[in-house]
Symmetry: C2
C-alpha cells in the first residue's frame, strides 16, 4: 500500500529471497475436475515485522479468465518454524504450520475454515523451493471427500 522503507525483521531473514514479485506458469489437476494450465503472479512484501505478506492470482492459460487467488501472511516464529494464515476467495481460510530450511518451505494445514457455501476442503500441504530467481511449488489437497493428492505445480521467475 506504501513504499516499504522498513528494515527486514531478522526473524524473516530465511525468507528474504522470496521478497518481490514472481510470474510464471502452472498446471492443475484433481480427480473431480479436468486438468488445466494457468499463468500466475505472486508477490511477497514486508512492513518490518516478523512476517511476510503474500498474495497470489492465477489466470487460465486457455482464455485468460481469472482462476484462483489467495492472500495472507507467512509468520516466522523462530528456529526455522513458520506459520501460515491465508484467505481464499472460494470461502476457505487456511492455518498451517511449517518449516524453512535451505530455501525449502513446507507447510501442512492444521485448521481449515469454511464459509456456509464453500466446497469442503479438509487438508492442504504446500512445498516451495527457492533457487535464486526461480521459485517452484507444489500444492497437495484433500477436498470434497478425496484423499490428499497433488493439485497444483508451478514454476515462477522473479519479475
Amino acid at each position: 500500500m506504501r513504499p516499504v522503507e522498513a528494515e527486514l525483521h531478522p526473524d524473516v531473514a530465511p525468507l528474504a529471497g522470496l521478497l518481490g514479485t514472481w510470474r510464471g506458469r502452472g498446471t492443475g489437476r484433481y480427480p473431480t475436475v479436468e486438468g488445466f494450465a494457468y499463468r500466475e503472479e505472486l508477490a511477497f512484501w514486508h512492513v518490518g515485522k516478523p512476517f511476510l505478506a503474500y498474495r497470489q492470482q492465477t489466470w487460465s492459460s486457455e482464455d485468460g479468465r481469472p482462476l484462483h487467488g489467495e492472500m495472507g501472511y507467512w509468520r516466522a516464529v523462530g528456529e526455522g518454524r513458520l506459520e501460515l494464515v491465508l484467505a481464499h476467495p472460494t470461502g476457505v481460510t487456511e492455518v498451517a504450520d511449517g518449516t524453512v530450511e535451505d530455501g525449502v518451505v513446507e507447510f501442512a494445514s492444521i485448521a481449515i475454515g469454511l464459509t456456509p457455501t464453500a466446497k469442503e476442503v479438509t487438508r492442504l500441504e504446500r512445498r516451495f523451493e527457492l533457487e535464486g530467481d526461480v521459485l517452484r511449488y507444489e500444492l497437495r489437497m484433500a477436498a470434497v471427500g478425496r484423499a490428499v493428492t497433488v493439485h497444483l505445480q508451478a514454476e515462477l521467475s522473479r519479475a
Copy 2:
C-alpha cells in the same frame, strides 16, 4: 496485481460503492491494552467474480509504525447475504457471515482459526456504514478471555 478490466459481477453490485482505495483515521481500545490512535488505508478491488478482494493496513498516529493489517475476500452469495474470509498477520483467520442492506454491512464470525503462537481471539463482529465517499466501521472483539467489546472505530474517505 493487474489493471481490472473485468465487468463487475452482478452479485456484488450492492458492494460496488466500496471499490477503490480509502484513507482515514481510527481509534482502538481494549481492556488489556492502552488506547491508541491510527491512520488507515484500505482497498477493495474485483476480478469479475462474485466477491471483492480487500486489504487493509494501519499505522500508529503517534510514531507511524505499522500496527495491524488484514487481507481477504468479501463473498456475495445472493439475497444480500455475504461471507467474509480474512487472514490477520497476528496468526488469526476469520470466517464470518453477514448482510448488506442500504450501505450497511454487518458481519459476525462463525469460525476463527489460530496458529500455535497466536493470541486467543474467539469472536469478531464488524459493522461498516457507507455514505457516499465516507466509510465508517466498528469492530467488536472477544479475545484473551474477555467478552465482546468495542475494539476499533474508524472513519475513512475515498482516496
